[in-house]
Symmetry: C2
Protein backbone atom coordinates (compact mmCIF):
# COMPACT_ATOMS: atom_id res chain seq x y z
CA UNK A 1 0.00 0.00 0.00
CA UNK A 2 1.30 3.41 -0.90
CA UNK A 3 1.90 5.93 1.82
CA UNK A 4 -0.99 8.35 1.69
CA UNK A 5 -0.24 10.11 4.94
CA UNK A 6 3.37 11.02 4.23
CA UNK A 7 2.29 14.22 2.51
CA UNK A 8 -0.74 16.48 2.68
CA UNK A 9 -2.07 16.15 -0.83
CA UNK A 10 -4.46 18.87 -2.07
CA UNK A 11 -8.06 17.69 -2.10
CA UNK A 12 -8.40 18.89 -5.69
CA UNK A 13 -5.76 16.30 -6.68
CA UNK A 14 -7.56 13.53 -4.78
CA UNK A 15 -10.74 14.49 -6.62
CA UNK A 16 -9.10 13.79 -9.97
CA UNK A 17 -7.89 10.29 -9.04
CA UNK A 18 -11.35 8.68 -9.50
CA UNK A 19 -11.49 10.24 -12.99
CA UNK A 20 -8.10 8.72 -13.82
CA UNK A 21 -9.29 5.39 -12.44
CA UNK A 22 -12.46 5.49 -14.56
CA UNK A 23 -10.53 6.39 -17.71
CA UNK A 24 -8.00 3.63 -17.05
CA UNK A 25 -10.76 1.04 -16.66
CA UNK A 26 -12.24 2.15 -19.96
CA UNK A 27 -8.82 1.72 -21.60
CA UNK A 28 -8.63 -1.72 -20.02
CA UNK A 29 -12.04 -2.60 -21.44
CA UNK A 30 -10.65 -1.62 -24.83
CA UNK A 31 -7.99 -4.30 -24.16
CA UNK A 32 -5.11 -1.85 -23.91
CA UNK A 33 -2.19 -2.72 -21.60
CA UNK A 34 -0.20 0.50 -21.56
CA UNK A 35 -1.13 4.18 -21.64
CA UNK A 36 0.57 7.55 -21.33
CA UNK A 37 -0.16 10.81 -19.54
CA UNK A 38 -0.73 12.22 -23.02
CA UNK A 39 -3.42 9.65 -23.92
CA UNK A 40 -5.10 9.95 -20.51
CA UNK A 41 -4.95 13.72 -20.76
CA UNK A 42 -6.60 13.76 -24.16
CA UNK A 43 -9.45 11.57 -22.90
CA UNK A 44 -10.00 13.68 -19.80
CA UNK A 45 -9.20 17.11 -21.20
CA UNK A 46 -6.53 17.54 -18.53
CA UNK A 47 -2.94 18.42 -19.43
CA UNK A 48 -0.44 15.57 -19.43
CA UNK A 49 1.81 17.66 -17.16
CA UNK A 50 -1.02 17.91 -14.62
CA UNK A 51 -1.58 14.16 -14.70
CA UNK A 52 2.12 13.39 -14.21
CA UNK A 53 2.27 15.90 -11.34
CA UNK A 54 -0.85 14.45 -9.69
CA UNK A 55 0.44 10.88 -9.90
CA UNK A 56 3.91 11.86 -8.70
CA UNK A 57 2.41 12.60 -5.27
CA UNK A 58 2.02 8.85 -4.85
CA UNK A 59 5.39 7.80 -6.19
CA UNK A 60 6.50 6.95 -9.68
CA UNK A 61 3.90 4.86 -11.46
CA UNK A 62 5.55 4.80 -14.87
CA UNK A 63 8.99 5.02 -16.39
CA UNK A 64 9.87 8.03 -18.52
CA UNK A 65 9.19 7.13 -22.13
CA UNK A 66 7.50 3.77 -21.53
CA UNK A 67 4.18 5.03 -20.18
CA UNK A 68 2.00 3.51 -17.49
CA UNK A 69 1.06 -0.16 -17.20
CA UNK A 70 -2.71 0.14 -16.97
CA UNK A 71 -3.39 -2.83 -14.71
CA UNK A 72 -0.67 -1.76 -12.27
CA UNK A 73 -1.84 1.86 -12.18
CA UNK A 74 -5.45 0.77 -11.60
CA UNK A 75 -4.36 -1.38 -8.64
CA UNK A 76 -2.31 1.43 -7.18
CA UNK A 77 -5.07 4.02 -7.53
CA UNK A 78 -7.54 1.58 -5.97
CA UNK A 79 -5.12 1.22 -3.05
CA UNK A 80 -4.70 4.97 -2.66
CA UNK A 81 -8.47 5.58 -2.79
CA UNK A 82 -9.12 2.57 -0.54
CA UNK A 83 -11.51 0.98 -3.01
CA UNK A 84 -9.58 -2.28 -3.09
CA UNK A 85 -12.35 -3.41 -0.73
CA UNK A 86 -16.15 -3.25 -0.87
CA UNK A 87 -17.76 -0.53 1.24
CA UNK A 88 -21.37 -0.95 2.34
CA UNK A 89 -23.56 2.08 1.65
CA UNK A 90 -27.02 3.01 2.93
CA UNK A 91 -29.47 4.99 0.82
CA UNK A 92 -31.92 7.21 2.69
CA UNK A 93 -35.07 8.12 0.79
CA UNK A 94 -37.05 5.55 -1.19
CA UNK A 95 -38.68 8.01 -3.60
CA UNK A 96 -37.97 7.92 -7.33
CA UNK A 97 -34.38 9.02 -6.81
CA UNK A 98 -33.59 6.58 -3.99
CA UNK A 99 -35.05 3.72 -5.99
CA UNK A 100 -33.04 4.76 -9.06
CA UNK A 101 -29.86 4.83 -6.96
CA UNK A 102 -30.63 1.40 -5.50
CA UNK A 103 -30.98 0.02 -9.01
CA UNK A 104 -27.93 1.80 -10.43
CA UNK A 105 -25.59 -0.68 -12.01
CA UNK A 106 -22.52 1.57 -11.92
CA UNK A 107 -21.39 0.58 -8.41
CA UNK A 108 -20.34 -2.93 -9.39
CA UNK A 109 -16.62 -3.67 -9.08
CA UNK A 110 -15.87 -0.09 -8.13
CA UNK A 111 -15.76 -0.51 -4.37
CA UNK A 112 -19.36 -0.06 -3.21
CA UNK A 113 -22.47 -2.10 -2.46
CA UNK A 114 -25.86 -0.73 -1.44
CA UNK A 115 -26.71 -2.53 1.80
CA UNK A 116 -30.03 -0.92 2.83
CA UNK A 117 -32.69 1.48 1.66
CA UNK A 118 -34.47 3.57 4.30
CA UNK A 119 -37.55 5.76 4.29
CA UNK A 120 -39.70 7.54 6.84
CA UNK A 121 -43.05 6.99 5.08
CA UNK A 122 -45.33 4.17 6.33
CA UNK A 123 -46.46 3.74 2.70
CA UNK A 124 -42.90 2.86 1.67
CA UNK A 125 -41.58 0.94 4.67
CA UNK A 126 -41.73 -2.78 3.93
CA UNK A 127 -41.95 -2.35 0.14
CA UNK A 128 -39.78 -4.70 -1.87
CA UNK A 129 -37.57 -2.86 -4.38
CA UNK A 130 -35.64 -5.57 -6.21
CA UNK A 131 -33.50 -7.19 -3.49
CA UNK A 132 -34.23 -4.46 -0.95
CA UNK A 133 -37.03 -4.20 1.57
CA UNK A 134 -37.45 -0.56 2.55
CA UNK A 135 -36.50 -0.17 6.22
CA UNK A 136 -37.91 2.39 8.65
CA UNK A 137 -35.72 5.36 9.46
CA UNK A 138 -36.30 4.48 13.11
CA UNK A 139 -33.87 1.57 12.52
CA UNK A 140 -31.21 3.76 10.89
CA UNK A 141 -29.02 4.28 13.92
CA UNK A 142 -28.97 0.67 15.08
CA UNK A 143 -28.40 -0.76 11.59
CA UNK A 144 -25.49 1.57 10.84
CA UNK A 145 -23.87 0.93 14.21
CA UNK A 146 -24.38 -2.84 14.14
CA UNK A 147 -23.02 -3.21 10.64
CA UNK A 148 -20.26 -0.60 10.93
CA UNK A 149 -21.50 1.25 7.85
CA UNK A 150 -19.55 4.43 7.09
CA UNK A 151 -21.09 5.76 3.88
CA UNK A 152 -24.58 7.07 3.11
CA UNK A 153 -26.32 8.50 0.06
CA UNK A 154 -28.97 11.10 0.79
CA UNK A 155 -32.01 11.11 -1.52
CA UNK A 156 -34.58 12.86 0.66
CA UNK A 157 -36.39 16.16 -0.01
CA UNK A 158 -34.25 19.25 0.61
CA UNK A 159 -36.17 20.24 3.74
CA UNK A 160 -35.28 16.94 5.46
CA UNK A 161 -31.69 16.61 4.29
CA UNK A 162 -30.02 18.32 7.25
CA UNK A 163 -31.90 16.41 9.94
CA UNK A 164 -31.27 13.07 8.23
CA UNK A 165 -27.58 13.98 7.81
CA UNK A 166 -27.44 14.72 11.56
CA UNK A 167 -28.86 11.28 12.30
CA UNK A 168 -26.39 9.62 9.94
CA UNK A 169 -23.44 11.38 11.57
CA UNK A 170 -24.76 10.49 15.00
CA UNK A 171 -24.87 6.83 13.97
CA UNK A 172 -21.24 6.91 12.86
CA UNK A 173 -21.42 7.61 9.14
CA UNK A 174 -18.21 9.30 7.95
CA UNK A 175 -19.06 10.11 4.33
CA UNK A 176 -22.30 11.45 2.83
CA UNK A 177 -23.17 11.88 -0.82
CA UNK A 178 -26.04 14.38 -0.92
CA UNK A 179 -28.42 14.52 -3.90
CA UNK A 180 -30.72 17.13 -2.35
CA UNK A 181 -30.31 20.68 -3.73
CA UNK A 182 -29.29 22.15 -0.40
CA UNK A 183 -26.08 22.76 1.50
CA UNK A 184 -25.57 20.44 4.48
CA UNK A 185 -23.46 21.16 7.54
CA UNK A 186 -21.46 18.27 8.99
CA UNK A 187 -18.56 18.08 11.46
CA UNK A 188 -15.16 18.55 9.83
CA UNK A 189 -14.36 14.89 10.48
CA UNK A 190 -17.18 13.87 8.12
CA UNK A 191 -16.81 13.97 4.34
CA UNK A 192 -19.60 15.48 2.27
CA UNK A 193 -20.02 15.61 -1.50
CA UNK A 194 -22.88 16.81 -3.67
CA UNK A 195 -24.50 15.47 -6.81
CA UNK A 196 -25.46 18.70 -8.53
CA UNK A 197 -26.45 18.34 -12.19
CA UNK A 198 -26.48 22.13 -12.58
CA UNK A 199 -22.72 22.45 -12.14
CA UNK A 200 -22.30 20.01 -15.05
CA UNK A 201 -24.87 21.85 -17.19
CA UNK A 202 -23.24 25.22 -16.47
CA UNK A 203 -19.86 23.79 -17.40
CA UNK A 204 -21.25 22.82 -20.81
CA UNK A 205 -23.18 26.04 -21.53
CA UNK A 206 -19.84 27.88 -21.50
CA UNK A 207 -19.15 26.22 -24.85
CA UNK A 208 -22.59 26.58 -26.44
CA UNK A 209 -23.50 29.09 -29.09
CA UNK A 210 -25.96 31.48 -27.53
CA UNK A 211 -29.55 30.31 -27.72
Amino acid sequence: MLAKSSENIPDIVIGRLPLYLRALRRLQQEEKDVTSSHELGKRLDISSAQIRKDLSHFGGFGKQGTGYRIEYLIEKLQDVLQVNQEWMVVVVGAGNLGIAISRYRGFQDRGFRIAHLFDVSPQKIGLAIDEFVVKPIADLNKTIRDEGIKIAMLAVPAEHAQSVADQLVDAGVQAILNYAPINITVPSSVQIQYIDPVTHLQHMTYYLNEG
Copy 2:
Protein backbone atom coordinates in the same frame (compact mmCIF):
# COMPACT_ATOMS: atom_id res chain seq x y z
CA MET B 1 -20.08 40.50 -21.56
CA LEU B 2 -16.55 39.38 -20.88
CA ALA B 3 -14.45 38.16 -23.74
CA LYS B 4 -14.42 34.39 -23.48
CA SER B 5 -12.84 33.69 -26.83
CA SER B 6 -9.77 35.90 -26.46
CA GLU B 7 -7.89 33.10 -24.76
CA ASN B 8 -8.09 29.34 -24.76
CA ILE B 9 -8.94 28.66 -21.14
CA PRO B 10 -8.28 25.14 -19.83
CA ASP B 11 -11.46 23.11 -19.47
CA ILE B 12 -10.49 22.21 -15.92
CA VAL B 13 -10.71 25.93 -15.05
CA ILE B 14 -14.14 26.25 -16.70
CA GLY B 15 -15.28 23.25 -14.66
CA ARG B 16 -14.50 25.08 -11.42
CA LEU B 17 -16.49 28.22 -12.29
CA PRO B 18 -19.89 26.61 -11.51
CA LEU B 19 -18.51 25.63 -8.08
CA TYR B 20 -17.47 29.23 -7.47
CA LEU B 21 -20.88 30.40 -8.61
CA ARG B 22 -22.66 27.97 -6.27
CA ALA B 23 -20.49 28.99 -3.31
CA LEU B 24 -21.07 32.69 -4.08
CA ARG B 25 -24.83 32.19 -4.15
CA ARG B 26 -24.66 30.48 -0.78
CA LEU B 27 -22.69 33.43 0.60
CA GLN B 28 -25.34 35.72 -0.85
CA GLN B 29 -28.07 33.70 0.87
CA GLU B 30 -26.16 34.29 4.11
CA GLU B 31 -26.58 38.00 3.30
CA LYS B 32 -22.91 38.65 2.75
CA ASP B 33 -21.90 41.36 0.25
CA VAL B 34 -18.16 40.83 -0.08
CA THR B 35 -15.92 37.79 -0.05
CA SER B 36 -12.27 36.93 -0.63
CA SER B 37 -10.37 34.24 -2.48
CA HIS B 38 -9.36 33.02 0.99
CA GLU B 39 -12.97 32.63 2.19
CA LEU B 40 -14.09 31.01 -1.08
CA GLY B 41 -11.07 28.73 -0.99
CA LYS B 42 -11.84 27.57 2.52
CA ARG B 43 -15.40 26.71 1.57
CA LEU B 44 -14.39 24.85 -1.55
CA ASP B 45 -11.13 23.33 -0.33
CA ILE B 46 -9.32 24.99 -3.23
CA SER B 47 -6.29 27.22 -2.65
CA SER B 48 -6.90 30.96 -2.75
CA ALA B 49 -4.05 31.27 -5.27
CA GLN B 50 -5.85 28.84 -7.58
CA ILE B 51 -9.09 30.81 -7.32
CA ARG B 52 -7.36 34.12 -8.08
CA LYS B 53 -5.58 32.52 -11.02
CA ASP B 54 -8.79 31.00 -12.37
CA LEU B 55 -10.70 34.29 -12.13
CA SER B 56 -7.83 36.28 -13.63
CA HIS B 57 -8.49 34.51 -16.96
CA PHE B 58 -11.65 36.61 -17.20
CA GLY B 59 -10.21 39.94 -16.12
CA GLY B 60 -9.88 41.46 -12.68
CA PHE B 61 -13.00 40.84 -10.61
CA GLY B 62 -11.73 42.29 -7.36
CA LYS B 63 -9.24 44.85 -6.13
CA GLN B 64 -6.23 43.69 -4.19
CA GLY B 65 -7.04 43.87 -0.51
CA THR B 66 -10.75 44.69 -0.81
CA GLY B 67 -12.00 41.30 -1.94
CA TYR B 68 -14.76 40.48 -4.40
CA ARG B 69 -18.20 42.06 -4.48
CA ILE B 70 -20.39 38.95 -4.43
CA GLU B 71 -23.29 40.26 -6.51
CA TYR B 72 -20.93 41.57 -9.20
CA LEU B 73 -18.89 38.36 -9.33
CA ILE B 74 -22.08 36.26 -9.58
CA GLU B 75 -23.26 38.35 -12.53
CA LYS B 76 -19.91 38.10 -14.27
CA LEU B 77 -19.65 34.34 -13.78
CA GLN B 78 -23.21 33.94 -15.06
CA ASP B 79 -22.19 35.92 -18.14
CA VAL B 80 -19.07 33.82 -18.70
CA LEU B 81 -20.98 30.56 -18.30
CA GLN B 82 -23.88 31.91 -20.38
CA VAL B 83 -26.44 31.17 -17.67
CA ASN B 84 -27.71 34.75 -17.62
CA GLN B 85 -30.50 33.25 -19.74
CA GLU B 86 -32.78 30.23 -19.31
CA TRP B 87 -31.89 27.17 -21.38
CA MET B 88 -34.57 24.62 -22.18
CA VAL B 89 -33.59 21.04 -21.43
CA VAL B 90 -35.15 17.73 -22.47
CA VAL B 91 -35.03 14.67 -20.24
CA VAL B 92 -35.01 11.30 -22.00
CA GLY B 93 -36.16 8.37 -19.89
CA ALA B 94 -39.25 8.55 -17.68
CA GLY B 95 -38.22 5.83 -15.24
CA ASN B 96 -37.55 6.55 -11.57
CA LEU B 97 -34.47 8.59 -12.41
CA GLY B 98 -36.05 10.67 -15.18
CA ILE B 99 -39.02 11.43 -12.97
CA ALA B 100 -36.71 12.43 -10.11
CA ILE B 101 -34.79 14.76 -12.46
CA SER B 102 -38.04 16.31 -13.73
CA ARG B 103 -39.05 17.04 -10.15
CA TYR B 104 -35.63 18.30 -9.04
CA ARG B 105 -35.93 21.76 -7.56
CA GLY B 106 -32.25 22.65 -7.97
CA PHE B 107 -32.58 24.03 -11.52
CA GLN B 108 -34.54 27.12 -10.50
CA ASP B 109 -32.77 30.42 -11.07
CA ARG B 110 -29.61 28.68 -12.20
CA GLY B 111 -30.17 28.90 -15.93
CA PHE B 112 -32.19 25.81 -16.83
CA ARG B 113 -35.78 24.69 -17.26
CA ILE B 114 -36.96 21.17 -18.05
CA ALA B 115 -39.13 21.54 -21.16
CA HIS B 116 -40.08 17.94 -22.00
CA LEU B 117 -39.83 14.39 -20.70
CA PHE B 118 -39.57 11.60 -23.28
CA ASP B 119 -39.83 7.83 -23.11
CA VAL B 120 -40.03 4.94 -25.53
CA SER B 121 -42.44 2.78 -23.52
CA PRO B 122 -46.15 2.78 -24.48
CA GLN B 123 -46.92 2.34 -20.76
CA LYS B 124 -45.26 5.66 -19.98
CA ILE B 125 -46.13 7.79 -23.00
CA GLY B 126 -49.01 10.09 -22.10
CA LEU B 127 -48.54 9.76 -18.34
CA ALA B 128 -48.80 13.01 -16.40
CA ILE B 129 -45.80 13.64 -14.15
CA ASP B 130 -46.53 16.90 -12.37
CA GLU B 131 -46.62 19.48 -15.18
CA PHE B 132 -45.18 17.11 -17.78
CA VAL B 133 -46.95 14.69 -20.07
CA VAL B 134 -44.48 12.00 -21.15
CA LYS B 135 -43.87 12.36 -24.89
CA PRO B 136 -43.00 9.54 -27.29
CA ILE B 137 -39.38 9.30 -28.39
CA ALA B 138 -40.71 9.28 -31.95
CA ASP B 139 -41.37 13.03 -31.45
CA LEU B 140 -37.87 13.73 -30.09
CA ASN B 141 -36.31 14.97 -33.31
CA LYS B 142 -39.15 17.29 -34.33
CA THR B 143 -39.62 18.75 -30.86
CA ILE B 144 -35.92 19.54 -30.41
CA ARG B 145 -35.65 21.08 -33.88
CA ASP B 146 -38.87 23.10 -33.65
CA GLU B 147 -38.01 24.51 -30.23
CA GLY B 148 -34.27 24.94 -30.82
CA ILE B 149 -33.39 22.92 -27.73
CA LYS B 150 -29.66 22.41 -27.25
CA ILE B 151 -29.36 20.52 -23.97
CA ALA B 152 -30.49 17.02 -22.97
CA MET B 153 -30.27 14.88 -19.87
CA LEU B 154 -30.03 11.16 -20.48
CA ALA B 155 -31.76 8.90 -17.94
CA VAL B 156 -32.21 5.73 -19.99
CA PRO B 157 -30.78 2.24 -19.30
CA ALA B 158 -27.09 1.90 -20.20
CA GLU B 159 -27.79 -0.33 -23.20
CA HIS B 160 -29.89 2.39 -24.86
CA ALA B 161 -27.77 5.41 -23.96
CA GLN B 162 -25.62 5.50 -27.11
CA SER B 163 -28.50 5.18 -29.56
CA VAL B 164 -30.54 7.86 -27.79
CA ALA B 165 -27.47 10.12 -27.70
CA ASP B 166 -27.09 9.62 -31.47
CA GLN B 167 -30.72 10.70 -31.98
CA LEU B 168 -30.23 13.75 -29.76
CA VAL B 169 -27.13 14.84 -31.66
CA ASP B 170 -28.91 14.25 -34.95
CA ALA B 171 -31.72 16.55 -33.76
CA GLY B 172 -29.27 19.35 -32.96
CA VAL B 173 -28.54 18.89 -29.26
CA GLN B 174 -25.13 20.33 -28.38
CA ALA B 175 -24.76 19.28 -24.74
CA ILE B 176 -25.66 15.99 -23.05
CA LEU B 177 -25.60 15.17 -19.35
CA ASN B 178 -25.50 11.38 -19.12
CA TYR B 179 -26.67 9.55 -15.99
CA ALA B 180 -26.24 6.07 -17.44
CA PRO B 181 -23.16 4.18 -16.22
CA ILE B 182 -21.65 3.89 -19.67
CA ASN B 183 -19.27 5.88 -21.85
CA ILE B 184 -20.97 7.66 -24.76
CA THR B 185 -19.31 8.72 -28.00
CA VAL B 186 -20.37 12.05 -29.50
CA PRO B 187 -18.88 14.31 -32.18
CA SER B 188 -16.22 16.69 -30.85
CA SER B 189 -18.59 19.62 -31.42
CA VAL B 190 -20.98 18.19 -28.81
CA GLN B 191 -20.37 18.55 -25.06
CA ILE B 192 -20.82 15.51 -22.85
CA GLN B 193 -20.68 15.23 -19.07
CA TYR B 194 -21.41 12.36 -16.72
CA ILE B 195 -23.21 12.07 -13.42
CA ASP B 196 -21.21 9.34 -11.75
CA PRO B 197 -21.82 8.94 -8.02
CA VAL B 198 -18.90 6.51 -7.77
CA THR B 199 -16.29 9.20 -8.51
CA HIS B 200 -17.68 11.17 -5.55
CA LEU B 201 -17.73 8.12 -3.29
CA GLN B 202 -14.17 7.18 -4.26
CA HIS B 203 -13.04 10.73 -3.54
CA MET B 204 -14.40 10.39 0.00
CA THR B 205 -13.10 6.89 0.75
CA TYR B 206 -9.56 8.28 0.40
CA TYR B 207 -10.15 10.00 3.72
CA LEU B 208 -11.92 7.18 5.59
CA ASN B 209 -10.34 4.98 8.18
CA GLU B 210 -10.20 1.50 6.73
CA GLY B 211 -13.36 -0.50 7.29
